[in-house]
Amino acid sequence: MEYELGDSVQGLVIVDPPRSGESNMAIDEALLRNATPAWPVVLRVYRWDRPTLSIGHFQQIEDRKEVPHLSELPWVRRKTGGGAIVHDRELTYSILIPNRANYSVKGHNEALYRAIHLSFVEQLQKLGWDARLSESCACAARVEKIPSHFLCFSRRSPVDVIIGNAKILGSAQRRSATGLLQHGSFLLCRSQSTPELCGLLDAPGGSNPNHQKKLGENAKDFASLLEADSDTESSARVLDDWLEFFVATLKMGASQLFSINWQNGSISNLLTTGKGKTAPRTDG
C-alpha cells in the first residue's frame, strides 16, 4: 500500500445492482488483478440476486453440511479469508487499496479492519444501537484464534462489530502484488437459511426503543417487511436508506486512514480506463 496516514488520494464509489455470486466475486477479483498504482481507492457496495453462500478462500465446501439448510444455496468461493457467509438479508462491500509500489507486506492490515468497523460502531451508536467491537465487550462470545465454526457470523475476532452477543459486521482481506482487497458483510436481519444468526434489526436487546431517528424507525419496518418476504415499494425505500447509511459509513471509515476525494463511478469504466466514470484524468 505504502500510503501514509493523512495522504490525499482519489476514491471511487461504485454502488452496484444485485448480481449473481459468480459475477460479484469475478468483479472483485478483476479489481484486485487489474489494479495499478494510478488507480483510485475503490469502494464497491453490492447485493446478491438470490441468497448465496460465499465461502472463505481456504474453506472446504463439504463442510457446509455442518450447518442445516446451507446445501440448498448456490455457492461461490471468495478470494479473501475467513468463514462462510450467507448473503441474504445483508449488504456487502469490497474496498480495494492499490499498491503504490512493489509492496510486499504479509498478513492482515489491522488499521483497515479497525477503521471501517469503528466507523460502524460510531454511526450505529448515533442511531441508538449499543454497537461495539468484540474486543471491548466481556459479554461477547469468546474471541477465537483458531476458527472452529464454518460460518463467519458464528465466529468472533477482536474487531468484529457486535450488538449484545450478535455479530453484525465481519470483514476479511486478500493481499496481492497489486493491492489489498477487503470484503465485509453487514447483517441486517436473520436469514431463513441461518435462523440462529440474527442481524442488526432483530438482535435481542439490540435496537433502542427510544431512538427517534428516521432511519431507526424505518429499520423496524424493514425487518418486518423482510420477515414477510415482501418486495414492496416501501421495503425498497427503506433498503435505499440502509444503502445510503452503508456507503456513508464505509466512506467515513476509510477516510480515517487517508484523506480521500470520493467520486461516484462504474465498474466498466474503471476496468477499461483504470479511472472510473468520473475520476479525474490526471491523478497518479
Partner: protein, 130 residues
Amino acid sequence: MSITPEQLRYCDSHEWAYVADKSAGIATIGISAFAVEELTDLVFMALPKIGQTVTAGSEFGEVESVKAVSPMYSPVSGTVVEVHSELVDKLESLSVDPYNEGWIIKVKMSDPAELDRLLDWDAYKKQCNH
C-alpha cells in the same frame, strides 16, 4: 546442523533461500521470522506440488492469518523437488523455528545467478527496521 538467518538470502517480500550445496543447485525456501511475526496467527497454508515450476518473484503458495490471505513469492526460478507437506498441520513450528523446522519447499534452480539478486542478512534486516 541448524541454519541461522545470517546464512540466508532474502526477498523484499520476506521469503528466504538457502543453498546447502551449490553443486546440487537446490534451494530450500521459507519465510522469515519477521514475516511470521507480521502474519501473527497462521491458520492455513497452500503449497505447490512436486514437479511444479516456480519463477523468481512469482507466487508459489498462500497463507491465511487473521482472515487475510497473503501470497508467498519464490526467491528463485526452477522446479519444486520437495514440499514440506506436514507443515500445513503444524504451522506453529514456523513461529518456533522458521529457518529449520519451518522450511516450506525445495527448488532445483534453473538460474542460480538469481541468488545474487537477493538481499543478504544485513540488507534484509535494514529493510525490516526501516
